[in-house]
Symmetry: D4
Subunit: 152 residues, 8 copies
């Protein structure tokens, strides 16, 4: 995440990763305030064994794209509503990457953070079938629960 | 893709997949015109051995989200500029997925199609290191070429 | 409706239908979380005797369009302000349907829910003149009341 | 339609109505340039036996809403891209109706015009089952054709 | 104004008219809920001696444009933030009038209401020099006061 | 107008003024490039006998607002589509004036220019009844012609 | 700043200038309410020895552009969220200056005010190396602090 | 600039710098394709004696912000219309920088490029009075020419 104030929006992502039994590291790294650290962190991601990176940032959110420029680990971006523009700035700064450097972008804010964790799990599931089975179980439970909701 | 008219925008995606030696199937399936086929196709994706799905669509683009609702294979979405709104409608219809069903969204149009293919390759690279190495080579060549461009 | 949290926005729609003496069924069905159920529900709508369907959803609102793809019963869509984009995402996801599968879209939120109920009544009034007469009475009362309002 | 220049956008609507064997009257009436005529035309719609009204207009498109204020016949609105804002102005002027006077709004431009005709046919189909059957046949043919399209 | 709920936004307009000694009538007339009354009211505006009309409305704000279509008295429009779109819908519904029927549009909400009153006074000042002189005095006082503000 | 390139958009305004027999002066004055001249021109408007001012400009269009700040003659603003934002920038720069200094804003581009001329004529008609009668004749002819248009 | 109500947004700018030891004058001058004073103030800026000007304003924010038109001192603009449009109007009114009169524009609201002060310091640092060194120290401390933040 | 295709938009900037006798270096450096080179280039800017940096880029334009993060030389950003969003994405990616790292942003496209050169000259003029005098002469000539333009 780009700032300590982004942490709250990422809590649902962490909960989701915990639910799927996926270990993760969590860091506050700003593309603009700590560019050196960003370089070091992103260029070392592959050798640290990271399988997916979730980068969340608000405003002119350069973090996801810069991470994607510095590693071959798939990068997912979560635009956060940190300014008067309520996340539209972050969405366009993350999703409109030029050809060559992709960031898989999720929805603005908490729904996007939740979904970034699920998509990360699906990506890990490409290699680890047991992770995919955990998502399958969770989805089945959720669908069953949805059919049991009493219409008010 | 959602319509035959979307094919041109996806040519750079196919070229990129070819470059990385990744085989793929290509289908025109509309969430709105052929919903039965969509169900059948998406629910069979996992058993057909697909590792990633790229879903491109314009207008009120329901295709990527519906595919994501029907499979555990990671889904990448490419919004296409098919209407008077020039892709803004497709972008929001794809990226603003509610919590629970993620679509990793790329940029509007051809840059997004190209990037969907690269991100798909990165995801496959999580499991197949040789694919990751091909992306590494391509990136290195591209960066070298970029430094050789003569400034006009 | 796509989610239990959408219920409050739909209360004025239910009140309006009650006022016009129109019976209705009410269900929470998510295009993305319970796609199977959506198929089953929408494909059975005609044989259950539904004359109009009101589908309300927020975010990347695929529900109205998918229902419209699966039935010949007229579908009215109500975009709900469920995200940081305050309903613009839902509006475009519902109204910008591609040629072939129409959704008659109403305003964002409660005014749209109210109007969906009235338009549903007008559509039923095409076949049942007594429903049209009830709308006529209600409109006349409302117009008379409007002329009696004291300007503050 | 609000202006003679809107006619081209409505050709696909007429073709669709012809395909479903639905007779129609076609008029150019401007809410702003010929308000008296609008009143007369809309207030007589019911007694002329119209079952649905399709109102298409661009810019600050008051036509669909004013027609809806003057009749109990269901009104469908088609926003046209007649200005520098490419139809966004017409879309908001048509869809954002206040509670009490509904307009079922379709997409901007030709796709919306086509869909207005199909939705009109679905509404007529609530009363005339043979019209619904014609839509069913057309949909089935279209879906079959869609599955036969050769992927380029 | 189009609705009793618009009254609060118009209080600064009334205060401004009072300040300039301009008498006015105030009415709640909805283009969509009371179209007959609108016709009657607007077509009689000239003979009642109105010199300018200020029409304020929110949502798909047809009121200012319809009034302008029915009278030769200059019409000023004030878009009100009555919906999830915060006045953007009303702004475009009022300002984007097609060629032939002008509405002089002011800013969204209270600043626009205040300015509608001042512009109305300026227009009346074209005929009544004493009104212009009152505006001149007010402006001079305001400018003098502005230079006396202590910078915090 | 703010620039010589704005002239073409203003031709319909001039034609309309000619039609109503209203003499006018026409000037190219930029708020940003010739601020001194703007001051001189606007502050002299009243003593030169101008009854209304039409100020058209594109981009960050400061011209209408600055003229309005410098005179008590009513100012009408026409936003022109001079940039990549197609007139949205000019529209907001003109219509969103702060309380105290009004600009009656018309639609973007040529329709707005035409309407500025008509509104100017209506304002002059507040003082000169013969001008109002010319607008009345023109409107009646236009409405009659509108009813004679053959529907294609 | 354009209004006394803008003061709060500018507090972080003042704090930043104080931190870098840069003296400044602070004034409330409205382009629209006190145009004469604006002229006088801006045309005297150079001779008063100002090295950079920070102009902050909301709504149709003409202040930064008009100041830039009247001086050769570099002008930085800060758009403030003073209206229903939350600063989008001010942003476009400030950044979309026509060729010839530049305003270096910062983000909407407080982040933009802070950054205006830092950019002003960087510009002064072009001439006064000791100011640049103070920014260098501040940046180094901030980066060090950023690396010490405990991830929650 | 971020890409060779950006060169055309920057020609007016170069012409303007030539006019003011300001020498410059010109480079094509992509934040996303050549991040290492960007670091090297930006971190060496100060020691190479650059007094101002103009960074132009389109799409999710990270270049200006990343350069600003890596140097204390003032950075001006020019958003280019390289995508379906016509520069809105680049504008928000450049102007909405978080507090701490400023980029002085100019208008979208060629007007912004021209103005970046003039603002750069004004900044250099803070240290080199002869550059300021050249801008003064150019402005005076331009204003004189503007007053001589024949109104068509």
């Amino acid at each position: 995440m780009g700032s300590a104030s982004d942490n709250e929006a990422l809590i649902p992502a962490c909960e989701m990763l915990d639910k799927f039994g996926i270990p993760y590291e969590k860091a506050i790294i700003s593309a603009h305030r700590t560019p050196d650290w960003l370089f070091e962190w992103a260029q070392g991601a592959e050798s640290r064994g990271l399988m997916v990176i979730i980068a969340a940032a608000g405003a002119a959110a350069a973090l996801p794209g810069m991470v994607a420029a510095l590693t071959l680990v798939p990068v997912l971006g979560v635009p956060l509503p940190a300014t008067a523009l309520n996340g539209v700035d972050a969405l366009l700064s993350i999703v409109q990457m030029p050809a060559g450097v992709p960031v898989g972008t999720l929805a603005i804010g908490k729904p996007g953070a939740t979904n970034a964790a699920i998509l990360a799990a699906e990506i890990i599931g490409v290699r680890h079938p047991e992770v995919r089975e955990r998502i399958r179980d969770w989805r089945a439970q959720r669908a069953a629960a949805a059919r049991d909701v009493k219409v008010p």
